[in-house]
């Protein structure tokens, strides 16, 4: 399954760890959106439909 993962997406998130406090704030905000998205039928604010175990768990 590893071959089907997009290696670049993890690196985009990782780049936030290098961008200082403001970038870390974005990281935590993203986590918060994803967390709150679990309780929303519409998913996280601003997120696009995706095929992941997390996203599938939010499907009705």
């Amino acid at each position: 399954m590893l071959a089907y993962l997009d290696a670049g997406s993890g690196s985009l998130i990782a780049s936030l760890f290098v961008g200082g406090f403001a970038a870390m704030a974005v990281f935590f905000k993203m986590q918060f959106h994803r967390f709150t998205g679990v309780f929303s039928r519409k998913g996280a604010v601003g997120s696009t439909p995706e095929v992941t175990p997390d996203a599938e768990s939010t499907e009705p």
Binding site: G10, S11, V26, S47, E50
Partner: protein
């Protein structure tokens, strides 16, 4: 990218042509081009170059000799990394970003790094997508050497896309995690890669929704630049670094050798000269004023590193020093072995220096002498070669590690007969010590 004779052209489709128009209008791009930090690029009339199907055709000034990051020294890779980040920072100030962060975007004119992938610039949109590539092809190889004291060249040669975060996490585990930049760029990077199963577009959208701005891309580039400047190679011990002081040349031999090489160098104008086994580059420097460009290679990264530093400080500007193991030179790489060319397929020299090299290839590396001479002939260039006789102390040192009789065929008569078979020997000069002889020869075509 395509070639038309000696001309290097780049065809752009509609989107790339729009990106080019935007780039040409900026302040930083023409300034960087004038300073030689970006390859000189002009738009050509596509009707003029007889190519169809492109919205715009660009012409790039050719690079004298294409080299790859696995052939650069630590400081060359660091300087190339800083150039890449400086261009990214300048571009971000004008609303432009780079699609990637590849070390292959950089080439060298002598010891001046120049950015060649003009097609990488695009309108800024979210986080810098080149961060991963930058880590794999610049930062991790630098860390390998700075934090683990391992020369990166052979490792990078084996990974066309650079060193993966997961491998680097294993290499830089334990106490190494606390070294400069490791926790953020390696440990957390590998963890993020392992845990993120979403698509790039989905992550980008989430980042935008969480307030990601161009200021953060700028902060990332600035932080990486600071880190690269902080990394230092601790490699200094090398059997070759003190060669000039410890070698067996008498003053008379050294002067006669310098005269001989200088005479050949001055005899005409050379377009591309190779100095194979260049050591501290003394002879490459001698040829430089008489050549358009000189490529000086040696397998010892510490010696080539010192040569690069001295060229940066004192010039000349047309010598490119590279770390190349002549017994195992950079092979052709990538899809069908055609994406990156082998070292010897990237240029046709018209002058080749092979000074105090043959005994290393034949005795130390066990390459048959006929093979060595055949390889010299394959360059099709004027050859300046030095033969070190078996009774020379340096040859004796190499022979001491071998079985008695193993290299009985290593002798001046055998060498001259092989040379005569493939070359016209124009001049032959034994050095005053009687232990070394120099030749200038032209291959018979």
């Amino acid at each position: 990218m395509f070639h038309l004779g000696d001309r290097v052209l780049r065809g752009l489709g509609p989107q790339a042509a729009a990106d080019w128009q935007m780039l040409a209008m900026t302040e930083f791009f023409p300034a960087a081009m004038a300073a030689g930090r970006v390859v000189r690029t002009t738009e050509v009339d596509s009707a003029q170059v007889a190519v169809e199907g492109w919205t715009t055709v660009l012409e790039h000034e050719p690079i004298p000799f294409v080299s790859y990051p696995s052939e650069w020294t630590f400081e060359m890779l660091a300087d190339a990394a800083v150039l890449h980040l400086d261009l990214l920072l300048a571009a971000l100030d004008e609303g432009i970003s780079l699609k990637d962060g590849s070390a292959y975007n950089i080439q060298w004119r002598g010891v001046t790094a120049t950015f060649v992938d003009v097609g990488s610039f695009e309108a800024v949109a979210g986080p810098w997508p080149g961060y991963r590539q930058f880590c794999q092809l610049f930062l991790y190889p630098l860390m390998l050497e700075a934090h683990l004291d391992v020369p990166f060249q052979k490792y990078l040669a084996g990974h066309l896309d650079g060193l993966p975060p997961a491998d680097m996490r294993r290499l830089l585990g334990g106490r190494h995690r606390f070294k400069a930049g490791v926790m953020r760029n390696v440990t957390l990077h590998a963890a993020a890669e392992r845990r993120t199963t979403r698509s790039t577009q989905s992550v980008q959208a989430d980042m935008a929704a969480a307030g990601y701005s161009v200021d953060l891309a700028r902060a990332t580039a600035r932080s990486l630049r600071k880190l690269v400047l902080k990394l230092r190679s601790s490699r200094s011990a090398s059997g070759w670094a003190a060669y000039r002081r410890t070698c067996s040349y008498s003053d008379e031999d050294a002067a006669a050798k310098a005269d001989f090489v200088a005479n050949v160098a001055e005899s005409r104008r050379w377009s591309l000269a190779f100095d194979l086994g260049c050591n501290d580059g003394a002879f490459a420097r001698m040829v430089a004023p008489h050549a358009d460009s000189v490529v000086a290679v040696d397998s010892d990264d510490v010696t080539v590193g010192a040569f690069y530093r001295s060229l940066r400080t004192d010039g000349p500007a047309n010598v490119l020093p590279l770390v190349v193991d002549l017994v195992d030179p950079t092979p052709a790489r990538g899809w069908r072995g055609a994406e990156r060319l082998a070292f010897t397929d990237r240029g046709r020299p018209d002058l080749v220096l092979a000074l105090a090299l043959v005994h290393h290839l034949v005795i130390a590396a066990n390459v048959p002498m006929a093979e060595v001479v055949d390889w010299f002939a394959s360059f099709g260039a004027t050859l300046v070669v030095e033969f070190v006789e078996p009774h020379d102390p340096m040859a004796q040192r190499l022979l001491a590690n071998k079985e008695p009789g193993q290299h009985d065929d290593y002798g001046i008569e055998e060498f001259e007969s092989l040379l005569d078979a493939s070359f016209d020997v124009m001049a032959r000069q034994p050095l005053p010590s009687g232990r070394r002889t120099l030749y200038v020869a032209r291959p018979r075509s």
